[in-house]
Amino acid sequence: MSLLSVDVAVIGAGAAGMSASVALAGLGLQVVLLDEQGSPGGQIYRGITLAPLSRRDMLGPDYAHGHTLAQALAASTVRYEKGAAVWQVTREHKVTYLRDGRLQTVQARAVLLATGAMERPFPIPGWTLPGVMSAGAAQILLKSSGLAPAEPVVLAGCGPLLYLLGWQYLRAGVQIKALVDTTRPEDYWRARRHLFAALRAWPYLRKGLDLMRSLRSAGIAHYTGAEQLAVEGSEAASALTFSVGGKAQRVATRCVLLHQGVVPNIQFSQSLRARHHWDENQLCFSPVSDAWGQLDVPGIYVAGDGAGIGGAQAAALQGKLAALGIASRLGRLSDAERERQAAPLRTGLEANLRIRPFLDAVYQAKEENRIPADEVMVCRCEEVSAGELRKFVALGCAGPNQAKAFGRCGMGPCQGRMCGLTVTEVIAKARGVSAGEVGYYRIRPPIKPITLGELAGE
């Protein structure tokens, strides 16, 4: 096992991680950037350095922007370690990872967690069948391999990523059989109090409106206010069924892409026992941090969607702010200089986040798709249904950690990533208490799978 000493270890080479690393290196700090993928970009700019120009063009200008960040990273002194699966971060700033089957350890003076977002679970009947994927997964196939569904596809759920994927599919000439939108007209009404702020973020809003318009004018079957979503099939998906205004609908397809927003990936901040809070608008847990992204664990910072969903541009700005905070902590920057450099970043961040409350309100995941009916699988790994979970609660199970003991819920290979939020909300509803009070799984390292042989340094 080799030990490397650096000033800062950054985990995740997406928008936040890349911009923070470049900024830290620019401030004269020694940085190692660890990322699980084979090339930088995170999920939002996935494969940006490898994608041919034609693919970059098809994916649109927001994706192409990632190339600027990746170029800055390549030109910097940052030590970028690709294919590095970090499985432990300690409160003493030691980061351990697996690369090419070998254990490596970095002792840093500060750690930045830039692990981004993951898609919110979408527990509906049949969501475990082959042929059902998340919209994000399909977009990753498009970005990294130029692949799209071979037969007309059904997009279901709500949220910007779902519509963006639809737009990208149109540009790529992929056939969309139906857009099954769970958004209801009253959701816009509910979000009206955020409309003024959203109008001030006009470029964002216009981008969204343009996107929706092009989907509509393409003549795609567009259902709105869809309820009771379920995937039919025994060995693989064969159709999506749902109801609109009480009328049953069925669209035959081999490929259903689900999406209802993204949530922070909090595996590391949870494993560090940092304080988290339940976000009532985004309906997820986020780590609690100061103005520079520092957690209540000294020297451990968080930036980007892992700190709360704000999108790629906000993530890049948060990365730079965290870099200033870290540089000041490590004595590279005076407080006055830190404040001076931070001011324009904060203004930019504020402008970027203006649209969020509106988006969060309009595209809030529906309760029936977060807290599902008894027969729906909640924990995909250990195959625990919502009904079983409710039985555990009736027997006295008070929270996610007890649910493990009651029926292995959350104890499979994904370590609760795919069921954590559902489990919290199902238990909270059944007990009649808040999700914040129920809490989340206690996450422990290894955060990524590692064999005993690898651990022993074979």
Binding site: E36, Q37, G38, Q43, L50, P52, S54, R55, M58, A85, M118, E119, T128, L129, P130, G131, V132, M133, S134, G136, A137, A138, I140, L141, L142, S144, S145, G146, L147, A148, P149, A150, E151, A172, G173, V174, E235, A236, R254, C255, N265, R380, C381, E382, E383, G412, P413, C414, R417, M418, K448, P449, T451
Partner: protein, 117 residues
């Protein structure tokens, strides 16, 4: 089992000139170099990668970003590899994981074990 592929390259994609030969459950496949194992399998008409340990129900990649662990396969004899995070390599031997794993018991002749002094 191969069926019609669930995913295929979009029209504007220039077909990859470099390909890699590998096997899935002993079946030879030719796939584009540089793709992930999961992507390569999906475009080759393999849309079921494993059966669950609990009920042996069929599963396939769900998230493609290392979160869901639905794409676990055995690669070159090593089980539980996340196929969405691993790049294809020439000669890779990939196998689906069917149900719960057996405990592979390899008897050892205790007489020949050396005890360090």
């Amino acid at each position: 089992m191969r069926t019609d592929p669930l995913f295929k390259p979009v029209a504007s994609e220039v077909s990859s000139t470099r390909t890699v030969a590998l096997t899935f459950n002993d079946q030879p496949l030719s796939v584009p170099a540089g793709s992930s194992v999961a992507a390569a399998l999906l475009m080759s008409g393999i849309s079921r990668l494993r059966a669950t340990p609990v009920s042996e129900s069929p599963r396939a990649p769900y998230c493609m970003m290392g979160v869901c662990f639905e794409c676990l396969v055995e690669i070159d004899g090593v089980p539980n590899r996340q196929s969405c995070l691993i790049e294809v390599r020439e000669g890779m031997r990939i196998r689906s994981q069917e149900g719960a794993r057996d405990l592979i018991f390899q008897p050892v002749n205790v007489q020949t074990l050396e005890v360090p002094s």
